[in-house]
Amino acid sequence: MLTKNNDKLTNLMVPILSIILGFIFGAILMLAFGYNPLLAYQVMFDGVLRNPFFFGEALRQATVLTFTGLGFAIAFKAGFFNIGVAGQVLVGWISAVWFALAFPDLPRIVLVTLSLGVGMLVGAVWSAIAGYLRAYFGTNEVIVTIMLNYTALFVTNYLIRAVISDGGNTTDRVGPNASLSVGWLTSLTNGSRLNAGLFIALVVVALYYVFMTQTTAGFELRAVGLNSFASTYAGMSAPKNIILSMFISGALAGLGGAIHGLGTFGNIFTQSGLPYVGFNGIAVALLGLGNPIGIFFSAVLFGILDVGSGFLPNRAGVPDEMAEIVIAAIIFFVGANYLIRFLLDKMKTKKTVTEGGE
């Protein structure tokens, strides 16, 4: 699914055409309900791109989506479907905030590093449970990660109410020593919550690329994903790689959650459902075709859609769920890329035929 065809142009065309088709689908749906799609898309993009505050917010959202996208992608490369990204975000988020609240007096650099590290580790371990069960019991990781999602949701809510706060629905805010906010970024974007997480995300994108293409461990992960029988035959350990890929996957998601906690909100509050950044991370990874740079740009696009959807109800009278529908439609076309490849092939053959005829 993720880049098996080596034709680079076609590979680039698939996400681009998927985005276009997704927007067209959204437009048709809006027309059917008597909304004005051009106005809707215009207020979304204008609202975000022409206002530094909302652009900052979109990048802030893209930061977390980059982590969840990379997290999903690395497991996917190794042949696993980590639907548990949302739950891993949540456990990373709560443990980072909890740690930061527990040790408010550590120096900033130490506290930030340790809090992020704790969030990352807890996310990794949470996800590795599914990897371990898959590796040694053959348990379907899709079901296990989904079940762990709901477990994470209820346990997190319980911890917030009964342990971290005194029966309230939100925790205290973390101290300035644990905050990821960067003065010049905040003032550059008119006080948005954009934070140092963005730079961490860019570094992780680069590290991800190096890990996957330049290291033995990354090569093994990809090999197991492409053909687990052949890689076992070549002496690679399938269980080790399964657990490792889920561990890294959860670490990335947990880090995203920790950055959500220390950067975006500064606290954690009870959730009525699993965080959307988790599921949209899956969308980001699929649209980015598993390529870290593609994932970053997908995350930026979905960040813009996410923040821009807030303008829909007031400025265009359209329910803000429209953005989510467009995202789903885009992923439909990415998933059904056979359709796009088929059409592109048809067009190519026609061209050669006409050229031959001249």
Partner: protein, 318 residues
């Protein structure tokens, strides 16, 4: 509380929570038996729940007491329509089954809430005028001892689900259609050689799963939540899929597992009126169904129970 009343409470509340799971798990069985993984059942349930809620509100004047049952059919129909997306994507367009299912799970809640806002101006429908409520099962509730425990004041849809499970078992194992459907899930190439239309059978499997999943969602909104909102389904579709796996892809097994999960879920709601259980912190009862699912998958089922060709794209030979 005397023992019969206690058992009655446990059985009836288990069945109420089991009803949506039974139908959806049966749906999953049909789809996966034809070789198509359908984790989109969660989204299909959302659409069924949405449709039946709308139907319930709009047509309560026309159908009176029958409204929830007709609403259930309406939910089934919309589920069937929605599952066409999954069928086209996985069968004709060769999409990864899990990716396509995820698309359905992303799209359905967004679309349903979008439509709810477009129709009602709010993200929830508000209370439904006529829910399933509790009913006595025809004549059976008069049997002494067993009658009051199992058949009085209980969930009508659950007994409908049990009937459907028996019917599904019959269809899958005793009819020509069932044999063909299963053969397509095990070895599509061999099936095609014998003249079975593989794509048609796969379509049948997915569309039946959509119909049953939609009805499951309709029961969820009309019997348990009594409204439609974003949290109405919240994971029930996934639990139903787990029930199907626990039931080893057999309709009767899936039904049994669904009732078991219904029991686990009901504990979180009625646990505080049952001795012993009432002392357990509620968070444990809330996560119990999910942890049980994992334990069950790890401990009680072996590996190679799934249809052999599950999740694989079948490309028709020319």
């Amino acid at each position: 509380m005397d023992i019969i009343r206690l058992l009655q409470l446990i059985v009836s509340s288990s069945l109420i929570f089991a009803a949506p799971l039974i139908l959806t798990a049966l749906g999953g069985t049909f789809s996966e038996r034809s070789g198509v993984v359908n984790i989109g059942l969660e989204g299909i349930m959302v659409m069924g729940a949405f449709m039946s809620a709308i139907f319930n509100i709009q047509f309560v004047g026309t159908f009176g007491n029958m409204t929830p049952w007709v609403g259930m059919l309406a939910g089934g129909l919309i589920g069937l329509l929605f599952s066409i997306i999954h069928a086209v994507a996985t069968i004709n367009l060769r999409a990864d089954h899990i990716v396509s299912g995820t698309v359905i799970n992303l799209a359905a809640p967004a679309l349903a809430v979008f439509l709810t806002r477009a129709l009602f101006g709010a993200a929830q429908t508000g209370p439904l005028p006529r829910s399933f409520g509790r009913s006595n099962i025809f004549l059976l509730h008069r049997i002494p001892v067993i009658g009051p425990i199992f058949f009085r004041n209980t969930s009508g849809p659950a007994f409908f689900g049990i009937l459907m499970a028996i019917l599904s078992w019959f269809i899958l194992y005793k009819t020509r259609f069932g044999l063909r459907l299963r053969s397509v899930g095990e070895h599509p190439h061999a099936a095609e050689t014998l003249g079975i239309k593989v794509y048609t059978m796969k379509y049948a499997g997915v569309l039946i799963s959509g119909f049953l999943g939609g009805m499951g969602g309709a029961i969820q909104s009309q019997a348990i939540h009594n409204e439609f909102g974003i949290l109405t389904v919240a994971g029930q579709g996934f639990i139903a899929i787990a029930a199907m796996i626990f039931g080893k892809w057999n309709p009767l097994g899936a039904m049994g597992a669904a009732i078991f999960f219904g029991f686990a879920q009901s504990l979180a709601r009625v646990g505080n009126s049952i001795p012993i259980i009432q002392n357990i912190p509620s968070v444990w009862l809330q996560v119990l169904p999910y942890l049980l699912t994992i334990l069950v998958l790890v401990g009680f089922i072996g590996r190679a129970e799934a249809p052999a060709a599950i999740g694989k794209t079948y490309i028709k030979s020319k």
